[in-house]
């Protein structure tokens, strides 16, 4: 099991990671969500030993990843661009990976390339989607147990995104590996993630399954007999999404008895609970700015 223990890091006198603590179970996909600058990329870079934490540790089984570099044969980091390999051809990159990772499966890699019709070009000459497929396929061909993916679908078109997601799901199903994926594409994460880690200003705000997340907050559409009460619009604990005549759509960070009583007290004609998407949860928990296509 991969365990992150009390990981803290300060950069330029600012706390970027603050006592981050969680573990990754085999075969699960964890979505790492948070606003820009929340510390997601720093967390992933620290988890694989690129950045040294001020305190805390990342342990793979009984050993620290900072002390035993060879553990990184089983924990693969895929950054958000393929810049590192841009001077390599696809085959050179395959040879490089095969010589670094004894478990690298050339057949699996070439099969993926054939499936997506990617030739042996210099990686910098590939399209953005192809680059993403190559870097992910290289990583998955290693047959590692843990993958840390930093915004793997960022900037990809709809088809390429779907391909990347398919590839991720196929790996988890076939090998029971674990994936931690940071992304702003919340509607995609929603389809694949088992758990969500919400990061806010370097701290873990919540770790929960999507069901738990959905239950913790509430999205209501209320139709009042008269106009929408001003007291409701002025409440600080809710986020008004839309007001149309006597109809109001809002989200509350927490589902409370007090809110239910408050709504009932204003004699609503209809109260309907709307299913919350991950984007809704993100907005209400972390304050919005979700980038969703």
């Amino acid at each position: 099991m991969l365990t992150v223990q009390q990981l803290s890091k300060r950069i330029d006198r600012q706390t970027v990671l603050d006592a981050i603590d969680f573990s990754v179970r085999p075969g699960e996909i964890i979505a790492l969500v948070g606003r820009n600058g929340a510390g997601k990329t720093t967390l992933l870079r620290t988890m694989v030993g690129i950045i040294r934490p001020d305190t805390g540790d990342v342990r793979y089984g009984p050993s620290s990843i900072f002390e035993k570099a060879e553990l990184k044969r089983d924990v693969i980091f895929v950054p958000d661009s393929a810049d590192a390999l841009k001077h390599y051809t696809v085959n050179e990159a395959m040879d490089l990976y095969a010589s670094i990772y004894p478990s690298f499966d050339r057949a699996a890699f070439t099969e993926t390339l054939t499936r997506y019709n990617i030739g042996n070009k210099k990686i910098r000459q590939l399209s953005k989607g192809q680059k993403a497929m190559v870097t992910l396929s290289l990583a998955f061909a290693v047959k590692a147990s843990y993958y840390l993916l930093d915004e793997p679908t960022d900037g990809l078109d709809v088809v390429a995104k779907a391909d990347v997601l398919k590839l991720m799901i196929a790996q988890v199903e076939a090998r029971n590996c674990s994936i931690i994926v940071s992304s702003h594409q919340l509607h995609e994460l929603e389809r694949i993630a088992d758990r969500i880690i919400m990061i806010e200003k370097g701290r873990v705000k919540a770790i929960m399954s999507l069901e738990e997340a959905r239950e913790s907050s509430v999205k209501l559409q209320v139709v009042f007999n008269d106009q929408v009460p001003v007291e409701l619009l002025e409440r600080k604990d809710i986020e008004i999404i839309n007001v149309t005549g006597r109809v109001v759509l809002f989200m509350a960070k927490e589902r409370t008895q007090e809110l239910d009583t408050f709504v009932d007290a204003h004699d609503p004609m209809l109260v309907e609970e709307i299913p919350m998407s991950l984007e809704d949860i993100f907005r209400v928990q972390l304050g919005g700015e979700a980038s969703v296509i």
């Binding site: 890091k9 950069i11 330029d12 720093t42 870079r45 694989v48 030993g49 690129i50 950045i51 040294r52 570099a69 060879e70 553990l71 990184k72 044969r73 693969i76 980091f77 950054p79 661009s81 810049d83 590192a84 390999l85 841009k86 001077h87 390599y88 050179e92 490089l96 010589s99 670094i100 990772y101 004894p102």
Partner: protein
């Protein structure tokens, strides 16, 4: 999983420079020898064709003198000697340029791109990453010397000027060995500076500073002291001793290079003995020192500061202080020497102006520019 993988990865980055270094190394060793011999040929031909013109320098017998006799130091006419054939400065200059370039491609350019993150995420520790880079760079210098040095020796031995090297082959070989070690030392220094500069250009800048600093700071202090004293001879002698000291030669490859007396190396046995005793060992000690410190700082370099002008943010105050001090002293020396005799009041004014300008520069470079460069 083999260490060779890292060598291959680094080779991919630096192969063009490496091949260029080997080629230019051969050129730097051999071309000056060839052109110098051409110059000898022209002079010898001119003497033989116009013996009367040179009679007074050759005691009247220039027409009958053999080529070897024309080079005899007993004559007052000097055509050249072994020292003029050996391209000592040129080769070392090449090693400095390519040492800096290769080191900045191996570390600085990696920091500019995501290659550094990629390398750090591989199942290798930072010591292995650093050693691989050091081996690749060093091998280029070794190969260029192993090809260029013997070719140069062969060219001299095979020429009609071979008498110049007779009995001195070992000394020339030792000098070539010293040039090789100096090349490795400069490269090791530049690679070490890769832990301070957060990208390629700043790494080259820090390498230049580190190369010049030990000798430079001594000269600045010497110039400053002279501005306040009348007893300049004593000051010169103290600083001359300091520059020639073994300590400075150990901590500065540049001091080591300028302290080798190539003019008298082949003729004065005491110079040869002194060279053998100090120069190679000092440069070896520097290689060990810079390699060890390079490993240490590469391990500790904060990867999150990649792209910055100076990686160790906690030491910015010290760098700032040193910049102000050095430029203040330089300003003082320049202004003090404007007057016919050195003037201590002008020194103080120059010191303040130089220090203030350096402070402004340091603020921009170390703080504002440092943050702008952050990746």
């Amino acid at each position: 999983m083999s260490f060779n993988v890292l060598l291959k990865k680094d080779w991919k980055q630096v192969s063009l420079l490496w091949i260029l270094l080997v080629f230019l190394g051969i050129v730097a060793y051999t071309l000056p020898v060839w052109t110098q011999m051409q110059s000898f040929d022209e002079q010898v031909q001119d003497i033989q064709m116009n013996p009367d013109k040179y009679a007074e320098w050759f005691n009247g017998d220039a027409s009958n003198a053999s080529v070897e006799e024309l080079f005899n130091p007993q004559y007052s006419y000097w055509i050249g000697d072994l020292q003029t054939l050996i391209p000592y400065g040129g080769v070392i200059f090449l090693y400095i340029i390519f040492g800096f370039l290769m080191a900045s491609v191996l570390i600085g350019s990696e920091r500019n791109s995501q290659m550094s993150d990629f390398a750090m995420s591989l199942p290798f520790n930072r010591n292995q990453l650093y050693i691989s880079k050091w081996l690749i760079g060093t091998s280029g210098i070794v190969v260029s010397t192993l090809l260029g040095g013997p070719l140069m020796l062969w060219m001299i031995h095979a020429s009609r000027y071979s008498f110049l090297i007779e009995g001195h082959s070992l000394k020339v070989a030792a000098l070539v060995g010293f040039m090789l070690l100096t090349g490795i030392a400069v490269f090791s220094l530049a690679l070490w500076m890769g832990s301070f500069g957060g990208e390629a250009i700043s790494q080259v800048l820090w390498s230049v500073v580190a190369l010049l600093f030990p000798v430079g700071i001594l000269l600045l202090i010497q110039g400053s002291v002279i501005s306040f004293t009348q007893n300049t001879e004593r000051v010169y002698s103290v600083f001359e001793r300091a520059i020639e000291s073994v300590f400075l030669r150990v901590i500065s490859p540049l001091a080591n290079v300028i302290n080798v007396d190539t003019y008298n190396l082949y003729t004065d046995n005491s110079v040869w003995q002194e060279f053998l005793a100090v120069a190679p060992l000092s440069v070896l000690a520097f290689i060990v020192l810079s390699f060890g410190l390079g490993l240490l700082t590469f391990n500790r370099a904060p990867q999150e500061n990649n792209g910055r002008f100076f990686m160790f943010s906690n030491w910015l105050w010290f760098v700032h202080l040193m910049m102000v001090l050095c430029f203040a002293m330089l300003g003082g020396i320049i202004l003090a020497n404007i007057a016919y005799s050195t003037n201590s009041i002008l020194y103080v004014i120059g010191f303040l102006i130089g220090g203030f300008l350096a402070h402004l520069l340091a603020k921009r470079l170390l703080y504002r520019f440092n943050l702008q460069l952050k990746s």
